[in-house]
C-alpha cells in the first residue's frame, strides 16, 4: 500500500458502499428529494423560446481538458437534444475537444431517433472546432445565426467571459455551468443562470432520477457532511494544540 493513502481508500470504499445502499433504498421506497436548480429548469424555457422565435440554440463545451465536467456536460447535452428534437427546435453543438466529437454526434442522433424523427438529424449541426480558433468561430456562429439561447458547459477558461457576453450581445438567454471556480464569477456576472460547481454534477440526477445517480448524489452529500464534520473537529483539536486527526488522515 502506498504510504499516506489508507484514509483515502477508506473514504473511497465508504463512498461506494453508500452509493449502492442509497441506490437500492430508492429502488425500494421511491423516496427522494432534491432542491430546485433554476438553471436546469430554465433549459425547457430556452428550448421553448427557440421554437417560438424560430432561432437556433447553441451548446458550447469548454476548451479545457476532457474530464469529469465534460461527462456531466454530455449528460446535459443529451437532455437538451431530446427537448430540441421533441419541439422541432434547432441546436448547434460546438466542441473544442476532438475526443467528444463522436459522442456529441451519437447523443444528438440518438435523441432524434428516440423522438421518432431520425430524418431531422443533421450532422452539420455538430461541429468540432479546435480550442483557440473556436473562439472566433463561436462568436461568428452567435452573430450569423442570431441564436436565441446559449448553453455553456464544461471545463471553461477565459472563453467563458467572451462567449457569455457575446451571447448577451445578440440577445440570447444564457445558461452556464462549470466547476472551475476561477471562471464562475464571469459566468455569474454575464449569464442568466449559472450552475455552480457540484450543481453541474447533480444535473444528471435532477433530469433523470435514475436510482444509481440518486445513490451517487446521496454518497456525495454524505461525503460533504463528513468533510465538514472532520473540518470542525480538526479545527477544534488544532485550537487545543492537538494534531491527532491530521496524523490519522495522513496515514
Amino acid at each position: 500500500m502506498n504510504p499516506g493513502r489508507i484514509s483515502q481508500l477508506v473514504f473511497l470504499v465508504a463512498f461506494i458502499c453508500i452509493l449502492f445502499i442509497a441506490s437500492e433504498s430508492y429502488k425500494r421506497t421511491g423516496k427522494f428529494r432534491i432542491r430546485r436548480i433554476p438553471g436546469l429548469d430554465a433549459i425547457d424555457e430556452l428550448v421553448g423560446r427557440a421554437t417560438e422565435m424560430g432561432r437556433p440554440l447553441a451548446f458550447v463545451f469548454g476548451a479545457g481538458e476532457m474530464e469529469a465536467q465534460t461527462f456531466a456536460s454530455l449528460r446535459i447535452l443529451g437532455y437538451v437534444c431530446e427537448q430540441v428534437a421533441r419541439y422541432d427546435a434547432r441546436l448547434h453543438t460546438v466542441t473544442p475537444l476532438p475526443e467528444i466529437y463522436p459522442m456529441c454526434l451519437e447523443i444528438q442522433r440518438s435523441a432524434y431517433v428516440k423522438q421518432g424523427k431520425p430524418q431531422d438529424f443533421n450532422q452539420d449541426f455538430v461541429q468540432y472546432l479546435p480550442a483557440d480558433s473556436s473562439k472566433a468561430s463561436v462568436l461568428g456562429l452567435f452573430q450569423r445565426e442570431k441564436v436565441s439561447g446559449v448553453l455553456l458547459f464544461g471545463n471553461y477558461y477565459y472563453e467563458s467571459m467572451v462567449f457569455a457576453e457575446a451571447a448577451s450581445l445578440v440577445g440570447a438567454a444564457t445558461i452556464a455551468g462549470t466547476a472551475n471556480f476561477h471562471q464562475l464569477p464571469f459566468f455569474v456576472a454575464a449569464c442568466d443562470y449559472t450552475l455552480i460547481g457540484e450543481e453541474l454534477f447533480a444535473a444528471g440526477v435532477y433530469m433523470s432520477r435514475e436510482p444509481s445517480e440518486i445513490g451517487a448524489l446521496t454518497a456525495q452529500e454524505a461525503a460533504k457532511v463528513a468533510a465538514v464534520t472532520l473540518m470542525l473537529i480538526g479545527a477544534a483539536l488544532a485550537s487545543f494544540g492537538k494534531d491527532s486527526l491530521v496524523n490519522i488522515l495522513k496515514n
Binding site: A68, E99, K114, M161, E198, L200, A223, A227
Partner: protein, 207 residues
Amino acid sequence: MKKEGPILIGFLTGSIVITSYFLKSTGLKSISDTVVRWRLIIAAFALALGALNMVRLHGKNIHHKGRNWQYSVVFLVFFLPYLAIGLIRGSNSAQYQYVWKSLYQPASATMYSMTLFYMTNAVWRAFRIRNLHAGILMFTGAAVMLGQIGIGTAISPLIPRFSSWLLDTVNTAGIRAITIGGSLGIVSLGLRVILGLERSYMSDGGN
C-alpha cells in the same frame, strides 16, 4: 457488445489507474501509465475525425454555394497546405513555425485581449444595483478593485486591508466550499463511469 464493450474498457482502465494509485507496485504503475498514454492515441484518432468533419463541412458549403462560402474557401486554402507542411516537413520545420508564429499566435493573442472589452461590458451590466445581491456585488467588487491599485491606498489605507480581508477570508471560504463540492462531484462521476453506471456518453444513454 456495443454497450458492454465501452463499459468493460471503462471498468478495466479505471480500476487499473485507481489500484495503481493505492498499491505500491512498479508493474501496476507502468501499466497504469500506459493506459493513460492510450488516451492520447485515442484523442489523435478523434482529432483526425474532427478535422475531416471540418473539411467535409466547408467542402459541402463550397459545393452548394452556401452562405458565406467564400470563407470556406479561405479555410481550405490555409488548412490543406498547412496540414501538408506539417505532415511532410514536421511541426518543427521553419515553414510550419513561420505560419504558426506570424498568423496563429497574433490571432490567438487578439482573441485573448478581446476578453477585456467583453469583461468591461459584463461588469457594466452586472454592477447595476437592481437588488441587494447586485448591491453587495458592486460594493465588494469596487472595494477589491480599489484595493489593488494605488488610488485605493491614497483614498484610505483601510481600503487595501478591507480588500485583502475580502479576498483572503470571504473569497477563500467560498472557493473552498465550491472546490470541495466540485471535487466530490468528480469522485462521484468518476466512480459511476468506472462502475458502468454512467452511460450518457453512449448512444441512447447506453439503453
